[in-house]
Structure formats: C-alpha cells, structure tokens
C-alpha cells in the first residue's frame, strides 16, 4: 500500500488548511484558559461541596423524619404478636381443667370470639396492616390454642361457624 502522497497534493493540503485556518494565535493572556483560570476552579469546588452538604442533609432528614411506616409496621406487628401470644399464654398456662371450667363458665360467649378469630384473622385490622407477620404465628399457635378451647364444645363451635354463615345470608337476603 503506498504511503506517500505526491508533493503537489501535500502542497494543496497545506494551502487548504493554512488559508482556511488563520495562523495568528492569540497571546496566552488573551486565551480562554487564562481568562477563566480563577473563575472556574472555585465554583466547581463550591458546587461539589454544596452537593455533598445537601446530600448529607437529605440523608439525615430521611433518616429522622422520613418514612415512619416501616417502623410502625414492625411495632404494630410485634405488639400484635405479643398480644396474641400473651393472652393465650396466661389462659393456657393453667391446667386443662381450668380452661375447661372457664370455657364452661363463659359458654358460648367465649367460644364465639375464639372461633371467629381464626377464620376472620385476615379480616382483622391488624391482619390488614401486616398480613405476613400476623399470618405466620397464627397457623402455628392457633391450632394449639383453639383445640383445647374448642374441644369442650366442638359441635356448637363448628355448628355455629357453619350455621352462622349459612343462615345469616338467608334472613338478611330474605329481609
């Protein structure tokens, strides 16, 4: 591959470049970098410092007063779990006879809330707010707690559950 150009072609190239671009170069004092020397360095430094300061302030604001919801979720979930764990723990720690006696004393008034807790757990406000934390402890704990509570009167509870749902629509719809 040829690497040389004819002399007249080189001259033509030089003539085109020299006539098009003036040879007069400005003095260094007149150049753009000389006039911008001090003016650019300072604002860049200031802009960077300002950006860092604003970012830090934003992070502090977000950390302190930002989204409170995640923490509230945790607090509410923990409260719900402790409430649910704490109530049966107090009632389940005594002997089964005590539980039977209490269930026997309260009768249907005690059964209905316990029976309604498990199926309606998804409908409770706590379950709506944090479905996952409430859903996880209940399946493990509710069968253990429900069975002793529901075992004395299995038929009424089942009958109430099944009967409550089925008869209710018919009168209401009939009315």
């Amino acid at each position: 591959m040829p690497d040389n150009l004819p002399e007249h072609i080189r001259e033509r190239l030089s003539a085109a470049l020299e006539t098009g671009a003036p040879l007069v170069s400005p003095l260094p004092s007149q150049s753009r970098y000389a006039t911008r020397r001090g003016a650019i360095a300072a604002p860049r430094w200031r802009v960077r410092a300002l950006t860092v300061a604003v970012a830090a302030a934003g992070m502090v604001v977000v950390a302190l007063a930002g989204p409170p919801q995640p923490r509230e979720w945790i607090v509410q979930s923990v409260n719900a779990i402790t409430r649910q764990v704490g109530i049966p723990a107090g009632s389940a720690s005594p002997s089964p006879s005590h539980s039977e006696s209490t269930s026997g004393e309260q009768g249907t008034s005690r059964e209905s809330p316990e029976a309604s807790e498990t199926p309606e757990a998804n409908e409770s406000p706590e379950a709506n707010e944090s479905p996952e934390p409430n859903a996880s402890p209940e399946p493990t704990e509710s069968p253990e707690r429900e069975q002793p509570a529901a075992s004395p009167t299995p038929e009424p509870s089942d009958g109430n559950d099944g009967g409550d749902h089925s008869p209710e629509p018919s009168p209401s719809s009939g009315d």
């Binding site: 040829p2 040389n4 004819p6 470049l17 098009g20 671009a21 040879l23 150049s31 753009r32």
Partner: protein, 198 residues
C-alpha cells in the same frame, strides 16, 4: 516537531510552562481541528476549549508523557464532541424545518471552504487527524502512534482509509503513490479540480 517542548522540561501546574506549551502547540492543533470540523471558527473554539480542559488537568500532567500528544488527545476529543453536537443540532434543525424550505448553507462559508477541507471534514475525526499529522505536520507513523497511544498498524490503517476516501472524492492522486512509481518532478494529472485549487 522540532521546536515542541519536552515533557520532562515542563513543570506540571506551572503557568509559564503552560503558556509556552500554548504558544508552540496552538497553530498545529488549530490546523488539525480545522481538518476535523471543517470550520475555522469552530476549530478555534475547540482549541480554546481544549486548552481550558488541559489547564484544569495541568497540575496532574505526567512529565514522562509527550505534552503535545496529551494536548492532541484532548483537542481531538473536544472536536469529536463538537461534531456530535453539531450533528444533533442539524438533525433538530431538519425536524424543526420539516415541511418548510430549508435555509441552506451560507454561500460565503461554502465559498471559503475548499473541497479538500470538505473532504477531510467528512472523514472520521481520528482518521482526518492522522492524515493531517502525517501529510501536513510531517509526523511519521511511529510518532503519530506514540502521540495517540495506538499501534503503528492502526495509524497505517487510518491513513489508508483516509487516502482511499479522499481519492474517491478528490481524485485518484490522493490515494498516494508508490515511491518508485513516479519519476522526480513528474506529477499525476489532476482529474478533478475544486475551489481550493485557485
């Protein structure tokens, strides 16, 4: 190439040394960027902008580098950015003028711009830069390769591409000649003349 300052003779961050570099490099950079942009005013603007960038990087300049190669890279990158912006502007202008008669090119600019510069500006920027460095500034392939931090093979390929493109646009004599094929003093006949010939 002879008068350019050596890197180890320059003190990074020193204003006087940078001024000296500016005085000695400015004409060469201006011509190179003129070939890339095809516009003298734009070339001047790019050279000035390149020196602004270089001034900011001057405290970090490594003296073992060739200072003009360092400047050359900054300047060519600036010209490439300019060309990209100009292309985007022209596309935007076309879209804005859609359906209306275009303003066309300024006849004064068209007359002032030779066909050689037009053909050079149509080349890829680095190809045009290498062509000017080789055939106008007088660098050899090895020096261009060192200047740009690429291999000599790359430089050779770029020069071949430039000669091929220019030969297609300006005439076959721009493709070059074999050193032994032409007797001294005898020129190839010109097939095509342009504005720049005058």
């Amino acid at each position: 190439m002879g008068g350019e300052p050596r890197g180890d003779a320059l003190r990074p961050g020193n204003r006087d040394d940078f001024d000296r570099l500016y005085r000695e490099s400015y004409p060469r950079l201006l011509r190179t960027l003129y070939a890339i942009t095809g516009d003298a005013a734009a070339a001047e603007d790019c050279v000035q902008e390149a020196f602004v960038k270089a001034w900011h990087a001057w405290p970090r300049f490594r003296p073992e580098r060739a200072p003009e190669g360092w400047l050359h890279q900054i300047a060519v990158n600036t010209a490439i950015s300019y060309r990209r912006r100009a292309k985007l502007r022209s596309v935007g202008e076309i879209l804005r003028r859609l359906g209306r008669p275009g303003a066309g090119r300024d006849p004064g600019d068209a007359a002032a711009m030779s066909d050689v510069v037009t053909a050079l500006a149509a080349l890829p920027p680095r190809v045009a830069a290498d062509f000017v460095l080789r055939y106008h500034h007088g660098y050899n392939n090895r020096e261009i390769a060192r200047l740009e931090g690429v291999s000599e093979r790359t430089v050779g390929a770029r020069l071949a591409q430039a000669r091929d493109e220019l030969g297609r646009r300006l005439g076959p004599e721009w493709r070059g000649q074999l050193p032994t094929s032409e007797p001294a003093g005898v020129h190839f006949p010109r097939e095509r003349t342009g504005v720049g010939d005058a």
